[in-house]
């Protein structure tokens, strides 16, 4: 392969914080999403330029991801969430077991965040849907948080949503 075809080297993200818990325990209380996102955001933001505002922004994004896993996950297995950092970006990797039927849904939803019509879809959903679908939540992350989203499926029945959030640049 010549140089022109090489993929750009993956930047080295340093691990900051992670948690793992039984999915059944996680699903036992909706407030786990709020509590975990608030706590993790505060921990990882302490050395950002504006810790308070970074934490507020990050918590908002992480909570949506936790809510997605809460609504789409199945009770067997474990949920894991790890946060990494590279420069002004945080990477969130959230893994959770989900039914086989959901996997295609997540593939399509993640793909739509990269589409040229992502913003039109988002506005349309906001304008017409009665409640946000999980697809709209991922579009929200892409549009309002400038998130880059991809899916990893190496370890069925779990899937891993990988979200890069350049919040330091937005906040400061």
């Amino acid at each position: 392969m010549n140089a022109a075809h090489r993929q750009p080297a993956e930047p080295k993200f340093e691990p900051l914080l992670q948690f793992e818990m039984e999915m059944g325990t996680f699903l036992s209380d909706w407030h786990h999403c709020d509590q975990l996102s608030t706590y993790m955001a505060r921990m990882i933001s302490h050395n950002r330029t504006d810790p308070l505002r970074h934490s507020n922004f990050f918590s908002s994004a992480l909570n949506e991801l936790l809510e997605v896993s809460f609504r789409g996950g199945s009770p067997e297995g474990r949920i894991g969430c790890a946060v990494y950092r590279h420069g002004p970006k945080e990477r969130v990797k959230i893994s959770f077991p989900c039914p086989a039927g959901q996997r295609q849904f997540f593939r399509e939803a993640v793909a739509r965040t990269h589409g040229n019509d992502a913003y039109a879809r988002y506005l349309d959903a906001l304008s017409t849907d009665l409640a946000p679908s999980r697809e709209v939540v991922l579009l929200d992350l892409a549009i309002n948080f400038d998130a880059e989203i991809r899916l990893e499926e190496q370890d069925p029945p779990s899937i891993t949503i990988v979200v890069d959030l350049p919040l330091e640049g937005i906040v400061s």
Partner: protein, 388 residues
């Protein structure tokens, strides 16, 4: 720490519906009451309905869609109503999420609330004022470092410096008293950039500088052993509102420390009369811009009204004998430039007034630099304890 509870309120007089706190429901049913209130407010409103989300710390997509749905539906059935969503420049995601509503319906506009909403703030946030702010802190610090322990300052505490300006007080406190944690908040991005730069040059990385509105802070309740707020209540058009926020973030048993001036009591010899006239006019000039630079001796009342107990008030005089008299003179020169050169001009004062106004500052400088002269700038330091 507990998350701020969600509040939804409608003020019919100002036609303003306010959302505050954290709202992350699992389903719309959990917020049905607030949605119903919101619908009723829209039905009642005529002309413009303001939707205030300045103090909305968190709202998940479920809630955002539900409340957006109500507004968008109203736009489709009520051509006679307009919505103005007021977001905060502090809570970044609100601005980013709510702006889309204006793209969907032209009846909705989204405004960002920031410091320009405060009368007179621009005068004191001008970056040209920064060197003089440093000199002011240097001169007041000589006094404050001695009196701060009486107001609750001690090593190992958690403290917040609200309206921290260029952050020099936080740096001095950190060095002298070694608190365990310092959060320093201001709503001037230029001042904070300067503060971060200074901290970085001194190798300081543990002061948490944060952009925020002191009257609507993201900080949670009951967090700090000591909350300091220096020279700021006097330049805020609603000091009681600011004090309420300081009270909120202070731990029960902790203290809130404030410093303020009484400008008409600035003094000097010789040329006392001219100096006194000018500083009486300074107080009137600030009052014109809704700022009370006579607040110092009123600190006790403000603290008592805000619910504090064990209130301690003392005053000190910064003088031309505190170190180099030229420092004192430099401060007065900066005051003259801003007060006479900008504020009086903005108020529309005639040239003869401005000439006399300037003369008082110059006489104050004359007194400060006179070998037998005396020039003073009095400051009131006060603190109160938040009851347990």
């Amino acid at each position: 720490m507990l998350a701020a509870p969600f509040q939804a309120e409608f003020d019919a007089n100002s036609q303003e519906f306010s959302f505050a706190g954290v709202v992350r429901p699992r389903s719309v049913d959990e917020i049905a009451h607030s949605i119903s209130m919101f619908r009723n407010a829209i039905e009642e409103a005529r002309g413009v309905l303001y939707i205030n989300v300045k103090r909305l710390a968190q709202m998940n997509n479920t809630a955002f869609h539900a409340f957006s749905r109500v507004v968008l539906d109203a736009c489709r059935t009520r051509s006679d109503i307009r919505f103005v969503v007021v977001t905060s420049s502090v809570v970044g995601w609100t601005e980013r999420m709510f702006r889309h509503l204006g793209k969907i319906e032209p009846q909705i506009t989204v405004e960002v609330y920031d410091s320009k909403f405060y009368p007179g703030q621009a005068f004191v946030e001008d970056t040209s004022f920064i060197p003089i702010l440093r000199t002011q802190t240097k001169m007041t610090w000589r006094h404050e470092r001695k009196i701060l322990p009486r107001h609750g300052m001690r090593p190992g505490i958690t403290m917040a410096d609200i309206c921290c300006g260029i952050g020099d007080f936080a740096v001095l406190v950190r060095k002298e008293f070694q608190p365990a944690r310092i959060v320093a908040l201001d709503h001037s991005k230029a001042s904070l950039a300067y503060a971060r730069d200074v901290a970085s040059n001194f190798g300081i990385s543990d002061i948490e500088y944060s952009y925020g509105d002191a009257s609507e802070m993201l900080l949670e309740d009951n967090q700090f052993d000591l909350v300091t707020c220096r020279h700021s209540l006097q330049i805020f058009n609603q000091p009681d509102l600011l004090l309420k926020e300081l009270y909120r973030i202070c731990k029960p048993g902790g203290r809130v420390y404030i410093t303020n001036e009484k400008n008409s009591h600035c003094l000097g010899e010789p040329r006392a009369q001219s100096i006194q006239w000018t500083y009486n006019e300074v107080a009137r000039l600030f009052a014109h811009f809704e700022m009370d630079v006579e607040l110092g001796p009123k600190s006790r009342r403000y603290l008592a009204d805000a619910g504090f107990d064990d209130i301690l008030v003392e005053s000190f005089m910064v003088t031309n004998q505190d170190g180099d008299p030229q420092d004192f003179a430099d401060i007065i020169t900066a005051w003259e430039n801003v007060y006479a050169g900008e504020m009086a001009v903005k108020r529309g004062d005639p040239p003869e007034f401005i000439k006399r106004f300037r003369q008082g500052f110059r006489d104050h400088i004359f007194a400060a630099l006179h070998p037998k002269g005396y020039a003073g700038w009095p400051i009131w330091a006060a603190s109160g304890r938040k009851p347990l």
